[in-house]
């Protein structure tokens, strides 16, 4: 089932060589990722799909440089990754907004680190706040926002620093359909105009197909890539497009099998309650 990860002719912006990760938890060791190799071309949009706990977030953490792989190496732009870098930005699954900063300051945070002058910083931040439709909430604090609003602040914060590689961990999970739709279009246009490289984790197969050049399907326990799909559909893509829906259906089938091969194969437990 496992397809070989293909190598491109142009040098990959991101290269993983035999990267694996094992956690030593209170509950014994968990092999979150089996050794995995992967190349990502500059400007590629890669979507990661897979059952819960299959190591998608772990993979993004490794690429972001927040965790060190148990084996193997990660290369970004040909240089080994030893820590976070301004070329890669990770958007966390839970947002991880700073509660002591208001919305504007949160969005400005990354820009301030680059030493951007105040005026430009404010301008850029405002553009991104507007882009995620939080105009009017610039001075609100995190705990005053709804779940979806927080997620949008996190998106604006990550995009504001304009990194070469964007690592997005379920960024649109808490968004309503319409905002999600808008954000898709927004992200796609940013990606197209700036040729960023995007690694995008989602649970929504159609979202993956609508956005990705490539879709990687993971299986859990141990985490590994079990399938890879190239999506050559013309852009902009519509979620209602027939070809897209078909492609999504194929991936869903693989995904189901991936899930079945990991822990979901366990006998359904008796009806509790």
């Amino acid at each position: 089932m496992m397809t070989d990860v293909m190598t491109k002719t142009d040098a990959p912006i991101l290269r993983l060589e035999g990267v694996s990760k094992t956690f030593n938890g209170q509950n014994g060791a968990v092999e979150a990722l089996q050794p995995l190799s992967l190349d990502v071309r500059a400007g590629e949009f890669v979507c990661l799909l897979g059952p819960s706990g299959c190591g998608k977030s772990t993979l993004l953490n490794l690429i972001a440089g927040l965790e060190r792989p148990t084996t193997g190496d990660v290369f970004a732009n040909g240089r080994p990754v030893v820590g976070p870098g301004a070329d890669r930005v990770l958007m966390f699954q839970d947002g991880a907004l700073f509660p002591w900063l208001n919305v504007r300051a949160n969005v400005e945070f990354g820009l301030r680190q680059t030493g951007l002058p105040k005026r430009e910083r404010a301008g850029a931040a405002q553009r991104w706040i507007d882009a995620v439709h939080l105009t009017g909430f610039e001075r609100s604090f995190v705990h005053e926002l709804s779940g979806g609003m927080r997620q949008r602040v996190a998106i604006a914060r990550a995009l504001a620093i304009d990194p070469a590689i964007l690592l997005m961990d379920e960024p649109f999970g808490a968004l309503d359909a319409m905002t999600r739709d808008l954000m898709h279009r927004e992200l796609e246009s940013i990606w197209q105009s700036t040729r960023k490289t995007v690694l995008f984790v989602t649970h929504n197969v159609r979202e993956a197909v609508a956005l990705g050049d490539r879709v990687l399907v993971f299986a859990a326990r141990p985490g590994r890539i079990v399938a890879e799909f190239r999506i050559d559909l013309p852009r902009p893509r519509s979620l209602e497009d027939h070809a897209l829906v078909d492609q999504a259906r194929r991936i869903t089938a693989v995904l189901r099998e991936a899930g079945a091969n990991s822990n979901h194969s366990a006998a359904r437990p008796g009806e509790p309650g």
Binding site: R88, D94, L97, F109, Q113
Partner: protein
Amino acid sequence: METNMQQAPLPARAWSGLSIGRAQWAPWARRIIFFGGLFLTWEMIARAGIWPEYLFPAPSVVIGALANGIGKGLYLTAAWVSLQRIAVGYAISLAIGVALGLLIGRVRALNETLGSLVLGLQALPSVCWLPLAILWMGLSERAIIFVVVMGALFSITLGVEAGVKNTPPQYVKAARVLGARGLALYTEVVLPAALPAILSGLKQGWTFAWRSLMAGELLFYTLSLGNLLQTGRDLNDAAQVMAVMLMIIIVGVTIDQTVFAPLERRVRARWGLNM
């Protein structure tokens, strides 16, 4: 959308003004009742005559002593001298303690070495520092301030360290991927994330600055609260001892109510820690 945003604020502001007004009086009423009750109980116990008055004076007697001391100008001068010293000593402790706490809290090797040492040093009573104060600072204000710093510094360090250690790692991770490095990571993320916890360390440090000041002022006699306290004890003047205690408590409560409590309230509101 513009109109939607502007619609809401108007009634709400009037509203919040009202509720703040209400919220500001109730605590003071509670405080007055509480401390009033406390004094009353104390007065009653003292008057019951279980203990000799010269060891356990009634609050009325203590307040008499206090009023007398203030009237003669002695207590206020003393308090002023002591307050200046504690302000300087506390400021120094704050600056060093915050830096030290940050380092110990985040650098593991320092934690294992310097961290333990700080804990050990903190256990030393101020009296241990008196000879070294004289040795290093001579008979001067600096010697007293040195003792204050030695008393408060480690407490603040430990408080900051604890706050910093308990920073949710998620914030640090987010800051790192957003490009925060070195000092900025500390000043812009670790410190603010830990601020609610650090504030409590600063509060403790403040009180220990007092304790050390009382010891440090015994280095040599100058008109100060520490010496009034000691003189009171030397003269077996329980009323004077308690009057000075009362002054310390009053200053402590005042500083708490005017500096720490509002600061804490604001920080907690902003951090979303209020329930």
